[in-house]
């Protein structure tokens, strides 16, 4: 199956083409086609995984040439895919969670008029994402990177008749573009230095590090990180993610929680050999991650829109992944990525259930008591919340808390302390969402209808994953998944600084319980009148949190005051100087061309004369040469 890995990309790509071209005629069937395509893709990836198990660990990295684009002499440009434990893990997450979300979306998009287009974009997105994670060189990775960005734009703005969706799509595209440009610059530097984009050349192989000066490695790594920050919505390029929730909820689940936003983490982990050469780069990754974890967590506390709260939560969780990568715990970063894919997809889709059942209502102040009308949804959301909060034995505990534990044992006390604060806030905001939306008394009018069985089925699978991935996949450093990733990412060696692991585990549970406790104290049904109000402006700290520390406003001010003036100056330059030059050339060519008929008169003797002149000129040349 490893040789057939190209199918994982090809099948969704073809299905996407079918849906985009004749989606109108397919009607409701397009959702099933898209889901089937994802399922096939998943099965192929699973087959590749099983085949990989039969190989010894050192032979598990294989490069599959799917097609040769052009061969000119010795240099060949070909489409190569890399199948190794890391890429296959990512591919399984994308196709596995992707299939479930596609299945859910069939029910969710039931009333939409353009299912063909929607599922076409979704499949296209998955194809690009798979190209990104299966690429064997940075060029194909970049192609996938841009492709998922494009699909994200199309899907956020899918309901293009809503102004906020159109605006959010533009914002996402432009903001991530800043990161993409940095990534592109990183690739340029890489090309100049290595003359290649191939992973084996750039990242070294068989455990050997590439030969490169620390300064160059720092430059490339930081530029790559710039791209990762844009795509993974980390500070300071995070502003697009909360707004991206204007897209359909399955999109939020698939793109803005489970897969695309993790591309940044994947990039850093994939390129860790480069980051490790530089002294600075890894530290920057850790700091950016920690800042994102705290910022996202606190901002989430200020949101009343369920999806926005989950968006900030995603940012916070991605921050933890970056923190782990920055501290060198790559397998653990990937373990959290896997666990997060399960529980965040679950949380988004259950909030999708709420929207579906209550005419797109997402403001928790107008919800409450949903567990009576939507028992399944409430239970499933609860499962996701438990997994995220980090209570044992659920998956969050085996990943997020393990990161903090490893940090402390490694002597990075600062990371442990601040990270624990972040973990406490995580438990706090997710418990807050559960308490406000699902228990207490109903604050909505009419009755909410429970999601259909079609929509519940994938959620149950996700819930099982969210709750038990920690135990099943043994996400702890010595467990199955990290050991599987070892040939690519190395082994995490636990340090021996600070308190023992047992103490830290207890501390982690206590921190989580404190977070949940605070949430209960503030948001329990009895206190409802304290926070169910709709002020014009949120007062004090609540306002700061609700607006994500006003970073959006700051950017808007900068763009309005500095950017627009600069743009006006550039526009003047473009109009007068650049356009002038181009038009000048055009005018010149047109004038010259206008002179031609004088000679091209239609008279044969003139033609013969110019012919003769040409021949004579060539003979004169011969005479000179002789």
């Amino acid at each position: 199956m490893i040789d057939l890995i190209g199918l994982t990309i090809a099948v969704p790509l073809v299905a996407s083409g079918v849906n985009l071209l004749i989606g109108k005629r397919l009607g409701r069937r397009s959702g099933w086609i898209a889901t089937a395509a994802m399922a096939v893709s998943f099965i192929v990836a699973l087959g590749a995984l099983l085949q990989m198990f039969s190989l010894p660990a050192e032979e598990r990295t294989q490069v599959v040439t799917v097609a040769e684009w052009i061969r000119a002499g010795a240099a060949a440009v070909s489409l190569d895919l890399r199948v190794d434990p890391l890429s296959i893990t990512m591919a399984l997450v994308v196709t596995g969670v992707g299939s479930l979300i596609h299945l859910y979306a069939i029910g969710y998009m039931d009333h939409d008029e353009r299912p063909g287009r929607f599922f076409g974009y979704m499949n296209l997105f998955c194809a690009f994402m798979l190209a990104l994670v299966l690429a064997n060189d940075f060029l194909l990775l970049y192609l996938g990177w841009e492709g998922v960005g494009l699909c994200s734009y199309l899907l956020i703005g899918f309901w293009s008749d809503r102004p906020d969706a159109a605006r959010a799509a533009k914002k996402a595209f432009i903001t991530t573009r800043i990161g993409d440009v940095l990534l592109m610059l990183g690739l340029f530097v890489m090309w100049v230095h290595f003359g290649s984009f191939d992973f084996d050349v750039v990242l070294g192989h068989e455990g050997s590090l590439p030969e490169i000066a620390a300064g160059t490695a720092t430059a490339i790594s930081l530029l790559l990180l710039g791209g990762a920050v844009g795509k993974s919505a980390q500070l300071p390029l995070h502003v697009w993610l909360p707004d991206a929730m204007a897209g359909p909820t399955p999109v939020s689940a698939l793109i803005h929680a489970a897969t695309m936003v993790t591309a940044g983490v994947y990039l850093v982990v994939r390129a860790h050999a480069l980051f490790e050469i530089s002294d600075v780069a890894l530290a920057v990754v850790a700091v950016v991650g920690l800042a994102g974890a705290l910022y996202g967590g606190f901002s989430s506390l200020g949101q009343y829109d369920m999806k926005r709260a989950l968006a900030y939560s995603t940012m916070s969780q991605l921050g933890f992944m970056f923190l782990a990568a920055g501290l060198g715990f790559y397998p653990t970063a990937i373990a959290l990525l896997v666990a997060h894919a399960f529980y965040k997809a679950l949380l988004f889709l259950t909030s999708g259930n709420v929207m579906h059942g209550l005419h797109d209502e997402v403001d928790v102040r107008r919800l409450g008591g949903l567990r009576h009308d939507m028992p399944w949804t409430a239970a499933l959301f609860g499962a996701g919340a438990l997994a995220l909060s980090g209570l044992p034995p659920f998956s969050g505990f085996f990943t997020k808390d393990v990161i903090l534990d490893l940090a402390s044992r490694d002597g990075a006390t600062w990371a442990f302390v601040l990270g624990s604060l972040g973990a406490m806030v995580s438990a706090w905001y997710i418990a807050r969402l559960y308490f406000t939306a699902f228990i207490g008394e109903r604050r909505y009018e009419g009755s909410a209808h429970e999601a259909s069985a079609l929509m519940r089925t994938p959620l149950v699978v996700l819930a099982v994953g969210a709750l038990f991935a920690g135990i099943g996949l043994e996400l702890t450093p010595e467990g199955t998944l990290p050991m599987f990733l070892e040939p690519v990412l190395g082994h995490v060696v636990e340090g021996d600084a600070g308190p023992s692991t047992q103490v830290l585990m207890v501390l982690a549970v206590v921190v989580t319980l404190i977070g949940i406790g605070i949430a209960w104290r503030l948001y329990r049904p009895a206190n409802q009148e304290r926070w169910v109000s709709f002020p014009e402006r949120e007062p004090g700290m609540a306002g700061v949190l609700a607006h994500g520390f006003y970073i959006d406003g700051l950017y808007a001010w900068i763009v309005a005051n500095v950017g627009l003036r600069g743009a006006a100056a550039l526009a003047w330059f473009d109009r007068t100087v650049v356009d002038g030059a181009v038009n000048g050339v055009g005018t010149l060519a047109t004038r010259a061309s206008g002179l031609a008929p004088i000679w091209q008169s239609g008279k044969v003797r003139r033609y013969a004369l110019s012919f003769m002149a040409g021949g004579v000129a060539l003979l004169l040349y011969a005479a000179v040469k002789i």
């Binding site: 040769e68 684009w69 047109t590 031609a596 091209q600 033609y607 013969a608 040409g614 002789i626």
Partner: protein, 481 residues
């Protein structure tokens, strides 16, 4: 005792198929001048298929020359013959449709087409300058008549001009052959190469001969300053004939130039290259600039073909295998695009009184979305915009010129491409962004659209995966002498 020359007819089987088919078609059309066309068209296609099959059969032959060194049997000839048969098939179909629509029966057309192709197939295999001359004459005579086939005033005038200047060019060609003979006492390509590398040959005479040959062949592919017939003839000739001759003549003559310049006069490469570079640059610049001023699509495409000849010639400054493969790729992608473009123009122009002014194309995207889309693909490829074959072709020929150290030529080529993009894209803009005016006279039949989709797909596929034929062309570029 004189040895009888060995006659190895199998070596020219494709040529024989074409000439034989031509003779049969000619006889039949003599007896049935006003008969239905369809049998003629089908017969022509069958003859082309037979010629292509026999060319394929020659692919793995070990021998290099046959008929006392008059023709060569190599993969270059095979690839070129296959391309010619393909172009011929489109020419035959387009001609059939063109004449059928106006019920204007000219069954000689098929005989002439086969004769022209026979001459071309002979030219691509010619291993002797005498055969080169013969082949050029055969294909030219057929083309002169094809140009005038509708007996209207414009085409007749064009044919007359073409004929007069063609005679003029033949004189140069023949003079070049004579000079070459004077230089080396042989007219064989192989013999010339041997004589010029050894002590027997006269280098100065050979240079004069080579340049005269360039003039004669350059006329056929419309290089500046031997190009002036091109706009008149391309505009005047019936569109299917223009489609056929603009593609097929270039393929045949450029392949002959490969043999003449890279093999026979290979040892003069250093002296010839500057002259070639100047001709190439002149064609690229003048062709592109003059195309801008045109208000008629056929005339614009004629000037563009002058520029395209310059692009192809720029790969000749590098007498390496890569240069030959690049020229072949360029010829194939150019042929697909130009056959398609003239084919679409034929459908739009509304029959035998062709109206091909720009106003016909205004707002075509609304009225004839399929035709407009097809023409856009062809024009994009001619302009060299990815993901079409024209882009890869330009990259390959510029790469060949750069590797030979002629980067100023590449720079001129790049600038000419920019100018070229202007006039190609203008037609696309005209079709897509303006309101249609006047009555729609475009041909509504679906089959020609389907047929023209074939070159369109070719252009796009070769633009995305050029790797499917480039290795083949590189093999064809290995000339064993």
């Amino acid at each position: 005792m004189i040895d009888a020359p060995r006659v190895e007819l199998w070596a020219i089987l494709p040529v024989l198929m074409l000439f034989g088919g031509g003779l049969i078609a000619l006889l039949a059309s003599g007896f049935a001048r006003r008969a239905a066309q369809a049998p003629f068209a089908l017969f022509t296609l069958a003859a082309l298929a037979a010629a292509a099959a026999s060319a394929l059969w020659l692919w793995n032959r070990e021998t290099t020359t046959a008929l006392e060194g008059m023709v060569s049997i190599d993969r270059l000839a095979v690839v070129a013959t296959l391309a010619l048969c393909g172009i011929g098939a489109f020419g035959a179909y387009l001609g059939f449709h063109y004449f059928e629509r106006d019920d204007f029966r000219r069954n000689e057309f098929y005989a002439l087409l086969l004769f022209a192709l026979g001459g071309m197939a002979l030219l691509v295999a010619a291993a002797d300058l005498i055969v080169v001359f013969l082949a050029v004459e055969v294909l030219s005579l057929a083309l002169y008549v094809m140009t005038a086939l509708t007996f209207r005033r414009g085409p007749t005038e064009a044919a007359m001009k073409y004929f007069l200047l063609g005679a003029f060019a033949s004189a140069f060609l023949l003079y070049g052959v004579a000079m070459s003979y004077g230089a080396s006492a042989t007219t064989s390509v192989q013999g010339l190469a041997r004589a010029l590398t050894g002590v027997g040959g006269s280098q100065p005479l050979a240079l004069v001969g080579a340049l005269l040959l360039v003039v004669g062949l350059g006329f056929k592919v419309s290089l500046v300053p031997f190009h002036m017939w091109t706009p008149d003839v391309y505009q005047g000739a019936p569109s299917p004939v223009t489609a056929f001759m603009s593609a097929a003549t270039k393929v045949a003559v450029f392949v002959a130039m490969v043999r003449v310049l890279d093999v026979a006069f290979g040892s003069l490469a250093w002296d010839l290259a500057p002259a070639i570079a100047v001709l190439s640059a002149g064609s690229m610049i003048l062709g592109s600039v003059l195309a801008i001023a045109q208000r008629d699509v056929k005339r614009m495409l004629a000037y563009s073909s002058v520029a395209q000849a310059g692009f192809i010639l720029s790969s000749f400054v590098s007498p390496e295998r890569e240069g030959i493969a690049a020229a072949l790729f360029y010829l194939i992608s150019y042929s697909a695009a130009v056959v398609g473009a003239f084919g679409v123009v034929m459908l739009i122009s509304g029959g035998i009184r062709e109206q091909t002014g720009f106003e016909r194309f205004r707002g075509l995207g609304r009225r004839q979305p399929v035709l407009a889309a097809l023409l856009s693909v062809f024009l994009l490829s001619l302009a060299g915009i990815p993901p079409t074959a024209g882009f890869v072709a330009k990259v390959l020929v510029f790469g060949a010129a750069t590797s030979a150290g002629y980067w100023p030529l590449v720079l001129i080529g790049a600038l000419a491409s920019v100018a070229g993009a202007f006039f190609y894209l203008r037609v696309i803009a005209l079709m897509a962004m303006q309101e249609p005016r006047g009555v729609d006279i475009a041909d509504p039949s679906p089959l020609p659209r389907l047929v023209l989709a074939v070159p369109a797909v070719t252009v796009v596929v070769l633009g995305i995966v050029p790797g499917v034929i480039v290795p083949l062309l590189q093999e064809a570029g290995v000339l064993t002498w």
